[in-house]
Amino acid sequence: MSATTAATARFTLKPSTDGGEDQLLEVSMGPQHPSTHGVFRMDVALDGERVVKLKPVFGYLHRNHEKIAETETYLGSMPYTDRLDYLCSIANNWSYALAVEKLAGIQVPERAEYLRVITGELTRLQNHTSGIGFLLQDMGASGTPLMYAFREREKVLDLFESLTGSRMMCNYMRFGGCRVDMPAGWLQQAQKVVEAFPRFLDEFERLLSGNEILMARTQGVGVLSKELAVDAGITGPMLRGSGVNYDIRKVDKYGIYDRFAFRVPLGEHGDVYDRYMVRLLEMRESIKILRQAMQDIPPGPIMDAKTKIRGFRPKAGEAYGRTESPKGELGFYLISDGSPNPYRYRVRPPSLVNLTVLEDMCLGQNVADIVIILGSIDIVLGEVDR
């Protein structure tokens, strides 16, 4: 796959230190490029194969979610959150519901909290599998790993479909609970999927983790230091790949995450390989959480009886709610003026902030590594541009 496939390139002259003139090649990668994960563009300057400058260009999927949300009711924005990070709609629903619950002081019944954990962790499973699949696709492993990843993803999507009615845009959470309870037999089906998942991970790892090509192309590539990661507000698997122990599930203990025993996998070198490994290990921890949650889920209501869904008007005030979405910290900042619509509705997108360090990680690397480094950030453009 050539980086200049769909790119425009031009030559500029750069004064060289030894008196001669070197040519610097400026390449515009994207917005239509097979490995930019959507419509993302990078203005790259190359000295031979080496990257000397990289400026990301955003906005090709800026569809005005925040502006539209100011004219919608609180509930009306819920389906829009599905389309932020369209791979993990339920994680977005959760974050938004959490922010509104903080804003209006709503309690969530216990069964609904369990349902949220189950669906949220299933979302993490399918996001990380497809994320790794796309990373390998970017690396040139055309087809096979992504096919394996999507095979597993479909199993999770089937669960979502029978629970919520939609494969991708689940629109599942409500303020004070969840929209629907599990249909009969769903839990058993979900348990089957979760129990079969480690076998798939083993297969995936046998195929990939020790693979020589994968190690050669990812180890020591796109190194992100601890200090820079914290300074640039990196969150999610990328931050933990750099060895910073910060998982909002552990820090905020939102929902009922304090009830589950799970570990936070950390990387050591902060390179692409560590980020890949952190995602793999996180999936194994998610399976642990899922097993516990599916065992302990109590009967009971799934909606807070006191909360009005229609005609919902929170008191004037503001709230910031955040969750550990599969990509990182997904936050919603809401300001209410007492009317049915939020006065200000702000999404804190993990993918956008994680891209802050893209240039730092790519400088000095080869042009072919850009796509791998970008793949290891695991961005979704719906969330970057909103």
């Binding site: 097979p34 419509v39 569809r63 005005n64 539209i68 845009m169």
Partner: protein
Amino acid sequence: MDEKLKAELGKQGIFATTLQELYNWGRKNSLWPLNFGLACCAIEMIATTMARYDLARFGAEVFRPSPRQADLMIVAGTITKKMAPQVVRLYNQMAEPKYVISMGACAISGGPFKQGYNVLKGIDRYIPVDVYIPGCPPRPEALIDAFITLQKQIDEQPLTGAGRPRHLNADAPSEFVVPQFGAHDLEPPQNPGVWRPPLVNISPAGKNESGND
């Protein structure tokens, strides 16, 4: 050619066909889509090409990243005004014969995001569309259905006469105006040569007299 005679000849081991049939058969069974996703629908497009739905069964597994090698543009997702010039340019760069599937509500009309200031309300404002599939996002089955629909359309095209496809008509344009970024909006905001707003009964006065209100 008479269908009965053709079948009879087939039994004798003689294969008879017309140039039109052969030509359309070849075109419809090797549609190479452009590897080009815009938003949510692109994920369903990828899912369609994966093992479970396997778009390869319809001769379309070769997603080409370069517009020069592609026949079919699947506009999968919201087209923002910032992206619209790129989409039109990609379409212009594709070689004839070329087809467009407008996948999902956003590509048809802006979908849920149509009130957005940066959202183009339908790609058919700039380029001609062959098949529309509604849905947000459409399921992979719907995309396959759009594929089959497009194949049927291709199959039925005569090679001569008024109904002949665009690439056999020297007068029909194959490239369209690429909009430019203006100070407040795209310029032009639509291409009247491609798209004219259909008539809709909305009374300016605001009374409820038509079915659309």
